[in-house]
Symmetry: none
Amino acid sequence: MFDHDPENATERPPMPTASAARIAADLRAAIEQGVYADQDRLPPERQLADHFGASRGTVREALRRLEDTNMVVRKVGSGTFVRYRAGELEGDIAKATSPIELIDVRFGIEPQMVRLATVNANGHDIENLDHALQRVCAARDPETFTDADEAFHLALADCTRNPLMKCLYSQLNEVRGHSQWSKMKDKILDAARISEYNRQHRKLFDAIAARDSNAAVEHIVRHLKTAKDHLLGATEELL
Amino acid sequence: MFDHDPENATERPPMPTASAARIAADLRAAIEQGVYADQDRLPPERQLADHFGASRGTVREALRRLEDTNMVVRKVGSGTFVRYRAGELEGDIAKATSPIELIDVRFGIEPQMVRLATVNANGHDIENLDHALQRVCAARDPETFTDADEAFHLALADCTRNPLMKCLYSQLNEVRGHSQWSKMKDKILDAARISEYNRQHRKLFDAIAARDSNAAVEHIVRHLKTAKDHLLGATEELL
DNA sequence: GGGATTTGGTCTAGATTTGGTCCGATCGAC
DNA sequence: GTCGATCGGACCAAATCTAGACCAAATCCC
């Protein structure tokens, strides 16, 4: 577990020696690797001090850093307990995200994205968005529509001219493609709904092209509400 | 890496082995190749001097050059620490994102995050958030505050119980840590502003704990507006 | 219940480590 | 010789680490 070796200090010259920092790093690694699970109690400070060959004060300094990052909770008379929910960010984020959770996140990002797009898009961006709109409007089957819809929303992200927004949204879009949503889309997407979505897409585009920020936000919110309603409807059908 | 050979020094009269330039180059290469990671502490100057077979003054000259190129930071009584963002994925996005763009994205995500947190957090989550709040409220200097603030917002993301939200926000938070914001924080964060932020943090927590979604959203929006105002103010000062 | 033990919280005094600074000496190159 | 780089010290101030003590809360054990 703690393969700390005091002799390392005299080993190769380029060995980063540091007491509190190194102890904190070792403990952090142990926790992240699951040596200590969530809610587990760490060894007492005095025992850790002995193990690391450091004084108790140094160990306490290391533990204080772990506590500052909410990784650990210390209780007088009881001990130091791990507070780390391992495995929640592990693996494929797409598999860990449900369609309804995806919509919840989209409700946060997309209105602001549309607002920024309305303000920041230049003529070239609008052209690209228009092009994407033509494609999605031409789609008739669920498969084509899903792809084109994804491209449309990515073009929308481009319109914000905000690198961080583009980065985050492209990740969200990937989850969207891989998520369980895609298994439901055949249930959700019929011709009527596709054309409904496309009417909303067009209104959204018109608002952005007209630089009408409020209208654009209103349309994207309505779009998301529609999608959520369809999703919940489909969920009920699955029950 | 450090293939210095003392015997060569006595063999050849011209000894390019021990010059400040060469030592600086070696250390730079070691850092770039990951021998020393970001935030790691380099060996002490005296130890480096011994290792390179050079005097401490020469090593200091080499370190001075690394410091001039912002590769390391030196702290009296503590050591020399690596500051080098090994071009990670978010490293690029962090460099491409301005503080104001970061705020723009936060304006989208955080209100929704708070809304979801208010609805989805369980007692354990609230406890964690409370713990993080105590930490951030206890912070007095910009350095501690920044770390604790980051932990608080991550705990907030945990409260949503939404894996996608947590994933996206943790990325946003990394950009926040690496972004040019960190260079401005000393200009922005004085004691008065820190306590102002903390008042907002507390109100936000109280609203979430009381499951008052609207109040929580209102507080986070006010918080972001305050941050944006301070940012724009600091920007003006820089002009 | 009650005392003993364990555990984290706090404090202190002193030793150690570490970068910052200064000085004079040495050596090679121009 | 002069100049620049290096060397080998010495000393300083800041940060850190150590070692020990005592406390209060929690827990254990009889």
